[in-house]
């Protein structure tokens, strides 16, 4: 079982190579459509460095793929709260991304105090907190206090939304 997942893991790392190669092609294609003849000032035009970076990306993609195929693999990062003995918990990650997207969609519509509370509560829920009274209360308090500190205290623009005038 472990050898299968180990091999899958090794193969998924080829995705990094693929990503680098795609990035490289993207950078080169983008560089090729920059008109260099008339815009160029001095011997190095706006496309030169992108071409170099694009080529470097492709070369690194190939070298990394070779390294992975020879059995090399990157060591996943450790951390205080990280336990690598379990497989990745994708459900939590997807729920977090959903909470994050909710904030993006809501912030200009209903204002930061509400969208921020949704973000915090959603994230806490995704991470396994199930205090159905305490979690939302903390989320709202944090969001409103942050709004007041930033918008009122520090003069940094966070949208109030429909709560404009209430807070």
């Amino acid at each position: 079982m472990s050898s299968v997942s180990e091999r899958l893991r090794g193969r998924s790392e080829l995705g990094v190579s693929l990503l680098l190669a795609v990035l490289g092609v993207l950078v080169l294609v983008d560089a090729s459509r920059i008109p260099t003849d008339f815009t160029q000032r001095g011997p190095v035009g706006p496309a030169a460095v992108p071409v170099a970076v694009g080529v470097a990306l492709l070369v690194i993609a190939v070298l990394l793929a070779r390294d992975v195929l020879r059995g090399g693999h990157g060591e996943s990062e450790m951390g205080e709260d990280v336990d690598l003995s379990h497989p990745s918990d994708w459900r939590t990650v997807l729920l977090l991304i959903a909470a994050f997207l909710a904030n993006i969609v809501l912030i200009d519509r209903v204002g930061f105090p509400i969208s921020g509370a949704v973000l915090f509560w959603g994230s806490a829920y995704a991470l396994g907190s199930r205090h159905y009274l305490r979690d939302p209360l903390i989320a709202v308090a944090l969001s409103v206090v942050t709004y007041l500190i930033f918008a009122r205290g520090l003069g940094i623009g966070l949208p109030a939304g429909p709560l404009e005038g209430v807070l």
């Binding site: 008109p35 990280v82 915090f120």
Partner: protein, 525 residues
């Protein structure tokens, strides 16, 4: 001593009651955030950056200095009280520090870390005062080609020296360079990698990149592997130590400082090597060798001083050359740019008052840290008990606030998420994040210097290495890149030396994993 009178003027600017209050607030916020597990100094600085946006530059810098030192100290508190590897610079502190804490000497471990940090910060900042004007004098005269060479050295140093896999370091560097290309080319007005999205024309804000890679990437990564069982935290009282502890600590503090500062000041990459060297040195010199492995105070005092001295050292190239050599310095450089201030030799001429006020605030922040943190240690220890769902939800929350506050634009939040996912993938596949951050910030500057240099040499590529300084730097780059080959062929014949060095724990050869590729081509501009 012109520097000293400049410094006194700096103190005159910085030492107002309001500014002192900002510094104290910065230290408290910096320590509180830095103590939280999973948050290293670079992320602390990135997350707290928005708080300083609304302040005028002097007050912002003063608060910032407090955040910087607070974040550093917070990280070591975490590693002493929680024995799990956190940020790489405090891994060594954690070894003996946690053992001391387990033996009921948490207070002493925290005290020697705090006082050692203070001593190292004091000496390091003093050295910054003495060195900076001299380096600025030298730097004013160096050419665009030399600058380009120095930047290449910084790229290679952070990529090839750190981490276990060079090819993955270079992959990270290339990703960073690509992100740095996005936006309008300043020299010609051409759009690069903007894909017709108007918000990308100004480039991606560096704060968004840093917060995305550090905060979002880390939160998602931890979320995917959250420890099910809570880590055990050792309770602590007020930090204090006895006369005997002082007697055993002061030499390690000074030696650690002497090791740490040069590593930080030269672009030699991070605090890992000096903290490790300090640990090995103290272990060898200690009269209590038997205590090593059971919680020796020297093993905390030395590495912790070394860590802080190295952080102070990174400020030398950051302020005088605009050259960040670690993640924290990179985020600070981004912050300065955000205030409309461009670090580099001209900064000392144009905004001398501001720079010296900042340096004075480093002294103030360092002192406040000691005054506040010795009595507050038990409070910080309690922060370690923050329920993890709230902790990581809070990181996502404040990261969003910070990214949104930069331009009040939701596009930045989308970019933040994309870069956060990138940061997640990099952690998953062992791509170090520091080269990417350095490349995003330094890449565009390096391109500017390259084009300027080639303009001056009429497109003659040899103009890049015509000066002796540039030649020397390219030679160093070649040695760093070819080091694995050199050590394999040259040192093979001299086993005794290599073994003696290895026996002393000197990392003569950064052990590459077996299948790693050593023959990475130098990136040619």
């Amino acid at each position: 001593m012109e520097a000293l009178s400049d410094l006194l003027n700096g103190f005159a600017t910085a030492l107002t009651p309001t500014n002192l209050a900002w510094a104290a607030l910065g230290v408290i916020l910096g320590t509180a955030v830095g103590v939280l597990p999973g948050i290293g100094p670079a992320m602390t600085v990135a997350l707290l950056l928005p708080v300083t946006y609304g302040l005028e530059p002097t007050a912002a810098f003063i608060m910032f200095a407090g955040i910087f030192y607070g974040g550093m100290f917070g990280g070591s508190t975490t590693s002493i009280l929680l024995n799990t590897p956190g940020e790489s610079s405090s891994v060594i502190t954690a070894i003996e520090g946690n053992l001391m804490a387990r033996n009921g000497r948490a207070s002493q471990a925290l005290a020697t870390a705090a006082i050692g940090s203070f001593v190292a910060g004091l000496i390091g900042t003093m050295l910054l005062v003495l060195l900076a004007p001299a380096i600025v004098d030298l730097a004013v005269g160096i050419s665009a080609a030399d600058y380009f060479a120095i930047m290449m050295l910084a790229f290679i140093a952070v990529t090839a020296v750190l981490g276990s896999s060079r090819i993955r370091g270079f992959a990270s560097l290339a990703i960073g360079l690509t992100l740095g290309l996005i936006g309008i080319d300043l020299a010609t007005g051409q759009q690069r990698l903007t894909f017709g999205i108007p918000q990308l024309a100004d480039g991606i804000d560096i704060v968004v990149v840093a917060v995305g890679i550090f905060a979002i990437g880390e939160a998602l990564w931890v979320a995917a592997h959250l420890r099910r069982r809570p880590a055990d935290i050792i309770p602590t009282g007020r930090a204090f130590m006895s006369r005997e502890d002082y007697r055993r600590s002061w030499r390690p503090w000074l030696r650690g400082t002497a090791l740490g500062f040069p590593f930080g000041a030269l672009p030699a990459g991070g605090a890992e090597i000096p903290t490790f060297l300090s640990y090995v040195t103290e272990k060898r010199l200690s009269r209590h060798k038997d205590e090593f492995g059971r919680g020796a105070i020297e093993g905390v005092a030395g590495p912790e001083a070394s860590n802080n001295a190295s952080a102070a050292g990174t400020l030398v190239p950051m302020l005088t050359l605009g050259l960040p050599t670690n993640a924290t310095a990179a985020v600070m450089l981004a912050a300065f740019t955000g205030y409309g201030i461009q670090p580099g030799p001209l900064l000392f001429e144009r905004e001398g008052d501001l720079v010296w006020a900042l340096i004075a605030s480093l002294f103030i922040g360092n002192t406040l840290l000691l005054v506040l943190n010795l009595p507050l240690a038990p409070l910080w220890a309690r922060l370690l008990r923050t329920p993890r769902p709230y902790l990581y939800a809070g990181i996502l929350f404040f990261a969003s606030v910070g990214a949104y506050a930069v331009n009040a634009s939701t596009i930045d939040l989308v970019i933040l998420l994309v870069i956060g996912l990138l940061g997640f993938a990099m952690r998953r596949y062992g791509l170090p994040v520091v080269p990417a951050i350095i490349a995003v910030i330094l890449g565009p500057r390096a391109e500017q210097q390259l084009r300027r240099a080639l303009q001056l040499s009429n497109g003659e590529i040899s103009g890049l290495w015509s000066s002796p300084l540039a030649k020397l730097i390219y030679l160093i780059i070649a040695v760093v890149l070819l080091w694995p080959l050199i050590s394999r062929f040259v040192l093979r014949g001299r086993h005794p030396l290599a073994e003696a060095a290895a026996g002393a724990g000197v990392p003569l050869e950064a052990e590459p994993p077996p299948a790693d590729d050593d023959r990475v081509p130098e990136e040619r501009p």
